[in-house]
Subunit: 323 residues, 3 copies
């Protein structure tokens, strides 16, 4: 059980920016590579006024926000770096409606999200689909259960993406509806799902997404540490049944601290690695390397996490090599 991938969160909504240019990103890809990262997943293509690439589709649909022309085409930059360092790149779609999906119960909103993203996917396939590192599609909507319209949203995006890209794989990264979800509060009708309830919800989802969804990497930070292996295992068994490969999204930020978010304590990260392994999961991705595990992170405790991870797995790289 190793980390083999990381999200790239450059168009962010709650993670402060590093303000890196191409040179700094290049150095960070070097540090990723040395730790064993072989795939990078761009978490979304736009947010509020900002876009990763100069998208006509985003401009067309955006109503509340005037879009800024990006000073750098981040899709191109990440593809170029992925090619340079022999990594796979996944493109993340657009979460258009600003309200949280946690309270979505309106299939009309999901339908609209699907419509928009079908156009995004077409535009991206045309502009970047031929690139060597372009490996697959990250369907960006973060869900926890089978709300009305959810399955249809993923089917429409997944079928379209596969059809026009020669069958490139699709990935989602949902979250467990655990005690730390919904900000850890029992408000707006939120109630954690037991492992059994979770299994029931996801049986419906995986069954219908069979053949459309290739990889599912649950975020591992919303349940208590000691519950994690059970949630992972139930999910992995279910996903196997419907031909979906289970990864773990081993969050490298700490959800238990008074500010959002510092890098996680290594022993917590280790616990989560061990839980995924115990559940029979073989691949880990993380949200996300550059802020929370990188020798170049603005949070120096990330440098320590890099070192502890490498030390644990006998990887020779150390954060000080990148200074």
């Amino acid at each position: 059980m190793r980390l083999t991938g990381t999200f790239l969160d450059e168009i962010s909504f709650d993670i402060p920016h590093h303000n890196w240019g191409v040179e700094e990103w290049d150095k960070d890809f070097q540090a990723m590579k040395a730790l064993g990262i072989k795939r990078v997943i761009m978490i979304r293509c736009a947010n509020k006024n900002f876009m990763t690439y100069n998208s006509d589709v985003v401009r067309h649909y955006s109503k509340d926000y005037v879009m800024h022309t990006p000073p750098i085409d981040l899709v191109d930059m990440f593809l170029t770096l992925a090619e340079k360092y022999d990594m796979e790149y996944y493109f993340g779609t657009w979460h258009f409606h600003q309200s949280s999906c946690r309270t979505w119960n309106d299939p009309e909103i999901f339908r609209k999200e699907g419509d928009i993203n079908i156009d995004i996917i077409s535009e991206v396939q045309e502009r970047y689909g031929h690139r060597k590192a372009f490996k697959g599609w990250y369907l960006t909507h973060e869900i926890c259960a089978n709300n009305a319209g959810t399955i249809d949203l993923f089917i429409r995006q997944g079928e379209h993406a596969k059809k026009i890209s020669g069958g490139k794989p699709t990935l989602i990264s949902p979250y467990f509806a655990g005690v730390k979800a919904n900000g850890g509060k029992l408000t707006n009708g939120y109630r954690p799902l037991t492992v059994e309830e979770h299994t029931e919800q996801w049986e419906m989802i995986f069954r219908q997404l069979s053949g459309v969804l290739d990889y599912c990497a649950f975020q591992d930070g919303h349940v208590n540490f000691q519950e994690l292996a059970a949630y992972h295992k139930a999910t992995r068994i279910l996903a196997d049944k419907y031909g979906v490969e289970t990864w773990s999204n081993i969050e490298s930020f700490d959800r238990d601290m008074p500010w959002l978010f510092p890098p996680i304590k290594w022993e917590k990260f280790l616990w989560k690695l061990e839980s995924a392994e115990a559940a029979g999961i073989k691949d880990g991705i993380t949200f996300e390397f550059s802020h929370f595990m990188s020798p170049h992170s603005m949070y120096p405790s990330a440098h320590g996490l890099y070192d502890r991870y490498c030390e644990h797995f006998g990887i020779p790289a150390r954060s000080k090599d990148f200074k």
Copy 2:
């Protein structure tokens, strides 16, 4: 449109301290200079128990707080560094009453603030007025509209400061009453002002401050990005009419993140530069260089902002030159 000035926020109420001594401040002035900063504005002279200089006036008026004798005279230190690096220094007055000016409607409080600051200005003129770098007066009260007593507060301070200092210029840095003001909340009777309402309020203010106020640098972070140019332009046209020169206070911290405050994303900063330029504004100051743009900042993403800014404007300096 370039950054030519920065606030100095060493007696702070919401920005953590760097704990720099004279040597570290000297290095930071070098980094400012290399980026093009030519004026420094000390945001206030005292707060709660702490003073920038050993002021008899502050001690006299302070009732709720016993004042600590400053281990370093910061006014002298900043003047000395400004002289060394050929910069202009603005002295910031005292916001005595701790309650926010956002809810001030009591002219008696404004009158008292004026009385105190007239004495502060006299003391400072006597002690530091002769210093070569002492360029002008920053009237520290941050306002957004024409509340009762506001105009009188600035007229009294401005007239007195000019009279005893040989006419040295005055500066204010108000904020737009936008969607992100009042903590982004519609509480305590707060309601954003439209561009038209803003214009109406400031027509009254600028008309009466004509001849007393020289520079007005609005904080640029309280309105949506796409609204900024319109607010700036309306303000600039109005200020021109009454002989007040408009600068922009291009905030270098990010108001959209879950903790207060990290350095801003470069693309947001760029947007705000472009908006000021589109409004016909030629000079920018920032709150503030040392925490949010400096190669020496405690927030490493500030180093990136320094580099992106310099890169954009073809300035040869880079943050790594100062390590």
Copy 3:
């Protein structure tokens, strides 16, 4: 009045982890030593799922949490480093019940806390009591007043610890029930204690702990700066009367900033040093060196605090010596 000790907060609940290994901790002990630290106090031995050493007692009592086997025995590591750098080590007990002691009024809970910690103390004495650097016992419960059961809790732990360890000294670090306690809010029945009320409460506590408690280091951050000397002095006089030596826990983090917690402003730290000295206190410990005063801290403003402290006391060390 100098800093001679620091807490070690490696099993933390609200301070983000540095993710240091043995090598990084060794370097930090070097920096402590250079500043004058001669004692280290491990603040607690376990929290939630994590333990500082592989404790059978913790596993036995822990019900809500499954405990993780620590990748490093931190008690052994800290003892080894304390021995290497000729320092004293204090072992901190376990705060089992997760609810805050601020609202504890249930003597049954205190009784249970006592029972558990008597077993912890026995286990630790057996495993580590022979170690050269093992100097004493830190009784971890943070209290502010004489709630029902409080005195009994400390008597039982203190008597047991002394009896089985050949009379090794005991330390507590309470907090003043001041305006910044209880999150600065008058909720859950909280009301600050005046100096007189504080004295009355602690007269009862010190009188009964006489002979069982050796050192008492009040946290110095919950009262206004100008009130601190009076609280300290009343406490010191009282403690002297009952044979308890008073230290000050000079907090090196800032309680007045919008995020919890950055390193404190040097002038505030200086104020608190001066207040303790004015109260006749000779020894200071801090919570805590590694995050808030260290050249290796993840918060670079801690580096400045190290430098200002050393500069003030004529200590030749500087943070840059440790880079």
